[in-house]
Amino acid sequence: MTWLETLRTAYEALNTRRLRSLLTVLGILIGIAAVILTVGLGQGASQKVTDQINKLGSNLLIVSPGSVTSASGVRGGRGSATTLTVDDAVVLSDPAVAPDIASVAPTSQSSVTAIAGNANWTTTAVGTTADWLTVRARTVTAGRFLTAADVASGAPVVVIGQTTATQLLGPVSPVGQTISISGQSLTVIGVLNVEGSTTGGDQDDLAIMPQTTYSARISTTANPRSVSTIYVQARDQGSLSAAYQETVAALLATHGVQPAAADFTVSSQQALVDTVTTTTRILTVLLASVAAISLLVGGIGVMNIMLVSVTERVREIGLRKALGATPSVILRQFLVEASLLGLVGGIAGLAIGLIGAAVLPGMLGQPVTISPIAATAALVVSLGIGIGAGVYPASRAAKLPPIEALRSE
């Protein structure tokens, strides 16, 4: 018997049991669509949270002067010491020393009074380098940010936050205006994007200037090279811990101290990242389990329908054998039947999963990420179950003497 003939026979058999075939297809379809959508939702949510953290500048390490002194981890005198200098930042920027560090921004900051015309406003002056913008994941909405040239020459320029701009200059376009900070005239060259407040204060009320300008004109500390914080950005989330190790090692070496006597503290949003990573991992595992269970339930449903259908058809198998069908011809028919059901159900399930992934984000406000691995696994598992459950009992029935099969109820 040719394959075409087998295909026709299988189609005929499926068409005879239209409702049952439909239910089997439905079982496979739902299993696959469920896996695609649940895993997609989990990964989408995970992606969304990670994106938000990345926006906060999550690959960030914060190096502060001072050290952890107590066993409970309470930091003693953090930020009060003046052990960090711009030279430390230069060391950390060296890719040979710290290959996992993407950018370094030493910053010093203090509260200052800014004056423009009649307006005066207390704001935070920040002396830093051009890398600050990327390290803190900010952008400028008007003008430009500091450049390396500004920093090298100690240019009298400043980039201000939206709040600072509104308070000092009102509706006037800030770029090109001159403001006075601690008696120093600085030209506004750019305005930062609106970020809102974080634990670090109002991120829109800042006056950012070159580190050199700050230390020469604003700083009140004894050592003008000292900085209050060095922001270090790792290449990505994966290299964060490597960047952490490199930072600690480089600073210990530069300062010539033992780890126990470290005169600086490297902290990070690691804690937050860890929590979120753990949470999203739990979420993904949870959703994947739900998906796996739905696949299992769908698979058992398919298995059930197939088993019942084949058991009911043992008589048919007996009759076909009595009429001259060989066991292999019967097996081929059932294989083709199960594969047809699996194929139709699998393709429909994929289609519905993809349609759902396109439609659901609009309805739920949740992103859905299609995972090819989950989709493939779902397809393979449901096809495997369908074919296995269809072919195994058929192969057993095909081995019976025809009359035994014919007599079965």
């Binding site: 054998k321 009429l323 069908a325």
Partner: protein, 239 residues
């Protein structure tokens, strides 16, 4: 195809009996109890015979018939079909014997539901590898022969019992087998349908086919050229 299969199709020389049973028994195991359905049957059926097997219910007629039809295997004893021992045949050979040599008419019709009379009759030809066009022509001819030329597209549930049995007779004779086996083919039919079916068997017998038929009824057995009576699993030649 194996040499054994080729040899099987060729008529062996010097053997006149189409089928030959020697000491055939069939024992069913029902847990602790064993049921001896057939207890040592010796039987020869010559080419062109028309044999009726009669006997009371439970005497082992169907069991014997299934063995003759290669649908079941004897527990002990030998069964030789056209000179070849059936016990030595593999699944492939058995399938081919059932397909080419034997046409079986079941008491319960055993038509596949959901398929037209034509497709049902085509089934054995499909397993024989006959081309579609050829298959259809032969199936139509077989259905016309049993007087159902106008019902070829009817499904079994759209046919009367007598018509369904005629479809199954058409299915049995469509491959032109040497041997037609019928297990109470008229058991479920009224007298008019019975007469039609018996008429068909007479025609087949006249055209040289070997027929073995099981029946309860003596006037059906009277149609046959030979009669064997079964009682408690044993066979006895009546005439």
């Amino acid at each position: 195809m194996t040499a054994a299969l080729e040899a099987m199709v060729v008529e062996p020389a010097g053997e006149s009996a189409l089928l030959q049973l020697r000491g055939v028994t069939k024992t069913y195991l029902m847990g602790e109890i064993t049921v001896q359905a057939v207890r040592g049957v010796d039987l020869d059926v010559q080419e062109g015979d028309y044999l009726a097997i009669i006997g009371p219910s439970g005497s082992g007629k169907s069991t014997l018939m299934h063995i003759i039809g290669c649908l079941d295997i004897p527990t002990t004893g030998t069964y030789t079909l056209a000179g070849i021992d059936v016990a030595g045949m593999g699944e492939l050979q058995l399938a081919q014997v059932r397909n080419r040599r034997i046409g079986f008419v079941f008491q319960a019709f055993n038509l596949l539901p959901g398929m037209s009379a034509l497709r049902n009759v085509e089934l054995p030809l499909m397993y024989a590898g006959v081309s579609r066009a050829d298959r259809r022509a032969r199936a139509v001819r077989a259905l016309e022969r049993v007087g159902l030329g106008d019902r070829i597209d009817h499904k079994p549930n759209e046919l009367s019992g007598g018509q369904q049995q005629r479809v199954s007779v058409a299915r049995a004779l469509v491959t032109e087998p040497d041997l037609i086996l019928a297990d109470e083919p008229t058991g479920n039919l009224d007298s008019a349908s019975t007469e039609e079916i018996l008429g068909l068997f007479r025609e087949l017998h006249d055209s040289g086919r070997t027929i073995v038929l099981i029946t309860h009824e003596h006037d059906v057995a009277d149609q046959a050229s030979r009669v064997v009576a079964m009682r408690d699993g044993q066979a006895e030649v009546v005439r």
